[in-house]
């Protein structure tokens, strides 16, 4: 039985529009059949968004659905279902929650299991996997799902980017990675053409990519308004407002959402309205996915005058001009350059600080730009790719930058059995006391 979820207020009224986006994405997968569209099980931040949008393929975002199940505190039945077929809980719980749901749907002959949060998700016609460096489960997730949906074809790409090596010239390496990624995307198009029976409209793809670029720019312009003191928007909201960028890239609706958010933040700044009053400490959410079942913890921070004006998580874009992308008429090559440079553009900065790394350099840049007093990392045990690097990032940050207060929160993205509210709040309280002591020492 689902546990009761605590209500969570949002700081911006624009963020309150997000459930409509998420529900819309889920219901689109259920309506696709009657609209004659194909559904693709899809994964975020893999460069395939515009291809799907330009070909009218409806993405079924497994990560989003698992997040919804977690936020509704209704994921346990799917986790247990996957567990019953020997999927360990130490595997990514986005994956196991989604696989459990898929297993149930297959047992029902493709019908949506009763009581699925927000109506559930439709059965895919294809799976577009992406085992890029960001997340290791994605290599195997589509294959594991295919055990239960054997008629659904899978296409997995990689989208590699140059690995960080302070002694290597990544500028020399970028072109070959771009070439590889471009070819992968071209193969993705061929795969989608085969499944849908339609040819790619390249002009439409180019226009979609152009719209994505505009959305990237607007997203960053909007989020940089949060530098203002007091900040008009918190990471608690950003875990919602990331939805259009992350799941609806290449759509006018996504762009329009950030037009509204931008206007609202400007108004809040003009009116002097901040997330916390008074704003005592400013913190960066430095790494890690949130516990979707405990987003109320951001309000716990806010209630004590602690705000998060910036986060690394779900800031999956950058101002296009800062990436200095080579000109190309090939929209797929443009996507590839945008992807590779998104990662490598921190490499130059990291090289200038001995011992630093691009991920740490990014955190330092945000700490400086957003005037942060400390950092919070969330170590989600089943998110191994990110969890494994968090301690190293935190230690490097202290070593190459300064001994700022750092809180490592522990939990999971979906599995609520990892969570203890009293313990978490105790840690937060102690962290705030550490911040107070730090500020005193700083004078």
């Amino acid at each position: 039985m689902a546990e009761e979820k605590k209500g969570r207020a949002v700081a911006t009224s624009t963020a309150a529009k997000i459930p409509k986006f998420v529900r819309g994405n889920l219901s689109a997968t259920l309506k696709a059949k009657e609209e004659g569209k194909k559904v693709a099980a899809a994964f975020i931040a893999d460069g395939q968004d515009e291809i799907m949008r330009a070909m009218d393929i409806v993405p079924a975002w497994g990560e989003s659905f698992s997040g919804v199940c977690a936020a509704k505190r209704d994921a346990e039945k799917y986790l247990q279902k996957a567990e019953s077929d020997n999927f360990s809980r130490s595997l990514c719980t986005y994956a196991t929650c989604n696989i459990g749901f898929d297993m149930m749907r297959e047992e029902l002959g493709g019908a949506t299991p009763e009581g699925a949060p927000w109506g559930g998700m439709g059965r895919p016609d294809m799976m577009l996997g992406n085992g890029q460096l960001l997340c290791d489960p994605r290599f195997k997730w589509p294959q594991a799902t295919q055990h239960y949906q054997q008629d659904v074809p899978v296409f997995v790409t990689n989208m590699y980017y140059p690995p960080w090596d302070p002694n290597a010239d990544h500028h020399e390496q970028e072109a070959i990675y771009v070439k590889y990624a471009t070819e992968e995307l071209r193969e993705t198009v061929k795969f989608c053409e085969k499944i849908t029976g339609k040819k790619m409209d390249w002009d439409r793809l180019a226009a979609t990519v152009e719209l994505s670029d505009k959305t990237w720019d607007l997203f960053i312009d909007t989020y940089e308004l949060r530098k203002h003191i007091p900040t008009p928007m918190d990471t608690g909201d950003a875990m919602n407002t990331m939805v259009p960028l992350t799941f609806n890239l290449g759509t006018q609706e996504a762009y329009d959402f950030y037009v509204d958010l931008n206007a609202e933040l400007r108004q809040k700044i003009a009116d002097g309205v901040g997330v916390a009053n008074p704003e005592r400490y400013r913190i960066i959410w430095a790494a890690g996915l949130p516990s979707w079942f405990a987003l109320g913890d951001f309000q716990y921070f806010n209630g004590k005058g602690v705000v998060f004006p910036v986060e690394v998580t779900y800031r999956g874009c950058e101002k296009i001009e800062r990436l200095d992308l080579p000109k190309t008429n090939d929209p797929l090559e443009h996507i590839a350059w945008r992807w590779v440079r998104y990662w490598t553009h921190w490499y130059d900065a990291a090289k200038k600080r001995p011992g630093s790394t691009p991920k740490v350099e990014r955190i330092i840049e945000y700490i400086e730009d957003y005037k942060c007093d400390g950092a919070v990392f969330h170590s989600a045990f089943s998110c191994r790719s990110w969890h494994a690097g968090i301690m190293q990032q935190a230690a490097t940050l202290k070593k190459v930058y300064k001994d700022i207060p750092i809180l490592i929160m522990e939990g999971d993205i979906v599995d609520i059995s990892s969570y203890n509210e009293a313990d978490t709040h105790n840690r937060i309280d102690a962290f705030i006391e550490t911040l107070a002591a730090y500020k005193k020492r700083q004078g």
């Binding site: 207060p405 750092i406 490592i408 313990d423 102690a430 550490t434 002591a437 020492r441």
Partner: protein, 260 residues
């Protein structure tokens, strides 16, 4: 002449301490049971009665610990982590690293020169490095928790546990008993396993001498020695390690009075 009261309501024991002019005048330690609010009140009353005082004689009260927020007669609350830091700094000003071994959690706390928290870390929802492990061991061996320390010092060859998990170690301890291992050797092995977990926390928080152990676990001489061996240094232990956080809470109450 103002009396202040510090209360630490832990998951196993509730502690109260009365300070006057920065000196400890009395303290009480009682089992918390299931009613934290009442446990805090009873502990406070016991400490007050020792001095023939009433709640009306107390100028300020600070509560901390697992049930600290439930103490409705407290003027303020703080985290037990800050309170441990303050209490240890008062007792041992040279200490920069505190290991608090409580019934449910163990924590490593790094202090700055003024005794404020510079960094802290808690064990990850695991009984392996906490007092719960000792309670499990006492139950298996049919002895009192208070007997563990001295008995472990008579060990000839500490049992090596293959797991740091208190749950798995329980069945492993039972197996070792059936194989003929002595209770002392089993306890010494448990101490080594706990010390390893606790020192891992210390390394994560940044080991900075001097070091101290507080909390109920610090009453176990065998555990304290094992921690010292693992750290490669001796550690300070308060005379009554269970009241360190209550002492810190009382010191915070005194500090607020002084500055208000």
């Amino acid at each position: 002449m103002a009396f202040v009261l510090g209360i630490d309501v832990g998951s196993s024991y509730s502690k109260a301490i009365v300070l006057e002019e920065g000196e400890i005048r009395s303290y009480a330690v009682i089992p918390s049971g299931g009613d934290y609010r009442e446990a805090g009140r009873v502990a406070a009353r016991a400490a007050l009665e020792e001095l023939n005082l009433t709640f009306g004689d107390i100028a300020r009260t600070v509560a901390a610990g697992y049930g600290g927020n439930m103490i409705d007669f407290a003027d303020d609350t703080s985290t037990d982590i800050s309170c441990h830091a303050a209490g240890v700094h008062y007792l041992f000003p040279s200490v920069k690293t505190v290991m608090d071994v409580g019934a449910q959690y163990s924590r490593a706390i790094r202090l700055d020169d003024e005794g404020r928290i510079a960094n802290f870390i808690m064990n990850e929802k695991c009984a392996g490095g906490s007092g719960k492990f000792l309670q499990v061991a006492a139950r298996i061996l049919g002895i009192k928790v208070s007997e563990i320390g001295e008995l472990s010092l008579t060990a000839q060859k500490a049992v090596e546990f293959t797991t740091g998990c208190a749950v798995f170690a329980e069945s492993e301890a039972v197996s070792r008993i059936s194989e003929g291992a002595s209770p002392a050797d089993i306890l010494a092995g448990i101490h080594n396993a706990m010390a390893s977990k606790i020192v891992t926390l210390v390394i994560r928080v940044g080991l900075t001498p001097d070091c101290a152990v507080t909390g109920g676990g610090a009453m176990d001489i065998g555990l304290v020695k094992a921690i010292g061996r693992e750290l490669g240094t001796s550690v300070f232990v308060p005379e009554e390690p269970r009241i360190t956080a209550a002492l810190g809470a009382a010191l915070m109450a005194r500090e607020t009075l002084k500055t208000s």
